[in-house]
Symmetry: C2
């Protein structure tokens, strides 16, 4: 048996998913064509439904099934702090800590001149429009890499005339990690960012 | 952001795929809801289409998009040999070697009293019905484990009154492998199955 055309097409569609190589795609495709039709239909429906229902929040750009996301609508969140992140998955990562009670702003990318992504391609002006007198702090929680740093510096500069406090998440040694495995830049930053105990 | 309902449902549907854990399912689901709608639709369509088009060959039970599979229909295949395997994926594995030119018979499982699978639950009587005078050899290529051996022995016994030659694939040391990593049963079988050079 050579793969049939429909199976081949399924394998190549599955291979495009993140973390799914050709071998995994073959195994998943084989599983799909040998499974109950009802189960396969429920899988295909779940894919379409999740995509169709997912919008971006009109306020913060986070993913949501509604016009405005539950965080922006929640009366329990602290409206004086906005945490700026690159992608919706970063919101999820911060929410998991259960430590942060403020609002978010999802940029939808990071400034990256190498990839032709400038400040106008990410949601900076919308963020500036959200800085009302109620907002006292903007936390820049973009990644600690070149793009994340560039974007944080740019936003900090844009916000400075507005008189709002801007802060940057700390770079340091990860929790549970040993000094010997950290790179020099991380150790240098951990030393510089030391706090009295 | 907590996951929305449709995203949660997608994650749990994806988690049921072979080799996809919860973390991978989250990553794939995130990729799906943030991708172009056209791409997502093509993925869902490929899943449904592959499942709907896949039948089992009326002759050999291999997976096919047609009533009878291309191997059974091919005038180039040697009709005097039938290779018996457990699953369609075994046909694929043997076809990849490009060494075998005969026909196949897919049992659709193996005898396993522990799992309540008896000879009547796999395609044995259909195999017996295929043993015409044209067929001179049946190769039993079920796995070298308890179920595979039991099934091979059972089929050999059923075929013996028909006067057709039955053979069993060789157990031995895998190609490229070292003796020290092989288990005792494999080494014992490799010695017993030794061939003059």
């Amino acid at each position: 048996m050579a793969y049939s055309q429909s199976l081949n097409e399924l394998i190549s569609a599955l291979s495009k998913l993140p973390g799914v190589g050709r071998k995994s795609a073959q195994r998943i495709a084989y599983h799909i064509v040998t499974s109950e039709k009802d189960y396969v239909k429920s899988l295909a429906d779940a894919i379409m439904l999740a995509r169709e229902r997912t919008n971006y929040c009109a306020v913060c750009n986070d993913m949501t099934e509604d016009e405005i996301c539950p965080i922006c609508l929640s009366p329990k969140r602290d409206r004086s702090v906005i945490c700026v992140v690159a992608e919706p998955k970063d919101v999820l990562a911060i929410e998991k800590t259960k430590e942060y009670k403020g609002l978010y702003h999802v940029l939808g990318g990071l400034i990256s001149p190498m990839d032709g992504i400038g400040p106008e391609d990410i949601s900076v002006s919308k963020l500036i429009g959200r800085i009302t007198p109620e907002v006292t702090e903007v936390i820049l929680a973009t990644g600690l890499n070149v793009e994340g740093e560039t974007t944080a510096m740019y936003i900090a500069r844009m916000l400075s005339p507005l008189g709002v406090k801007t802060s940057r998440i700390a770079m340091g040694i990860p929790a549970g990690s040993e000094l010997e495995y950290a790179d020099e830049a991380t150790i240098a930053n951990a030393l510089e960012g030391r706090r009295e105990i």
